[in-house]
Symmetry: C2
Subunit: 231 residues, 2 copies
């Protein structure tokens, strides 16, 4: 039985959700084939079976799981003989912290930069919804969010400092090999690659090297996905 | 052979170093008895054997280790049959990230609040050195640092958000039991307890519950150390 993953797809095959990217990387890490079921912003009714309206949703035979963190737990617990995402109970617990750090700090720093960029790549039919929702969340218009992108990039680079110091000392956040904590951070970079031509990292940043390795991982799965060139 | 740990001691037996606290908690976690060798700011020559001037320095027979992270590695590798600090290779790698996060974000947010408070509790003979060093690092006088403590506490509470969300879902950053990542964050709170009467956490903060448990851990070792009451 092939796994199915509901994903968000916007124009030109782009899949911007950082949470979907966490799930896609986790599935690839486990070596699990998955059939993606892309939906648009206006098709949340297709997720009604899951009792909520957000991607990713994983369907495994008769079972389904929503929420990227819950999906990672499900994969680790259901496929324990495949490569581990967490490396045991303590690792799983610490990965939750890194997940929340990535949410609060890195996605928090990216959203004013990437919401307008996302809007630029969504079908016209979904733009009114997206504009209203994100402008309410941000407390400003999409046009206001476009101001000073370089300052937003600088703020993003600043919150990355703990990851930078870590990746200067070891290949991945999870050590010699990547793990779920790496994918939590990587999801934000994939959101950026998918919708924005901005350069999020300087070439000499240790995180740049790490990102390049994750773009190339799993036969270049992330690098090959529709989006802007990353340099 | 009893282990020895060089620590920083200021007035009234207070030991403010967050890095020493990481090492003390790690030693207690491993169930290792340790003899503390307290030194003052003016006694760095007593660390000359280690080729540098910062505490903590651990001495184990003929060997010595400086730097709190290196000490944690040493304890885990040298005493593998005692309770683990990291829970394996992936956990160790993720703990480095949390260590750096605690350094950059939490100690970064605390230093302007706690440097003047530390100065208030150091022997007069060391005050000139401390003032010059910290004022250079901060780019302002100790008196300027004392401005708006409530704003500094608010900034500290804000950077704790990833830990708050994590500790709302699980007992410790390392899961059901504390581990080294917990001690990395806890060290900053012990710096606060040692020198400052300020209330760093609201009573309904999930981190407050976690801190209380670590204060009580190891027969109340941290709670019993000289400092201000924590509420």
């Amino acid at each position: 039985m092939t796994l199915k993953l509901y994903t968000l797809r916007i124009a030109d095959g782009r899949e911007p959700s950082p949470f979907v990217w966490r799930a896609r990387m986790a599935l690839a890490h486990k070596g699990l084939a998955v059939e993606r079921v892309p939906i648009g912003y206006g098709e949340k009714h297709k997720l009604a079976f899951s009792g909520q309206g957000l991607v990713p949703v994983l369907v495994d035979g008769e079972r389904w799981v929503n929420d990227s963190w819950a999906i990672a737990q499900y994969l680790e617990d259901t496929y324990p003989d495949r490569p581990t995402l967490f490396g045991g109970a303590k690792g799983r617990a610490m990965a939750l912290f890194i997940n929340r750090w990535a949410d609060v700090e890195t996605l928090g720093a990216l959203r004013l930069l990437l919401w307008p960029a996302t809007w630029d790549h969504i079908p016209a039919a979904d733009q009114a919804y997206f504009r209203a929702d994100r402008e309410t969340k941000a407390g400003m218009t999409l046009e206001a969010m476009r101001a000073e992108p370089e300052a937003k990039i600088a703020a993003f680079r600043r919150v990355l400092e703990p990851a930078r110091q870590t990746l200067a000392r070891q290949p991945y956040l999870c050590g010699d090999k990547p793990g779920y904590a790496d994918y939590c951070l990587f999801g934000g970079f994939m959101w950026g690659k998918t919708v924005s031509p901005h350069r999020l990292l300087a070439a000499d940043d240790p995180i740049h090297r790490w990102r390049a390795e994750l773009l190339a991982a799993f036969d270049g799965m992330a690098a090959a996905d529709p989006g802007y060139p990353v340099d």
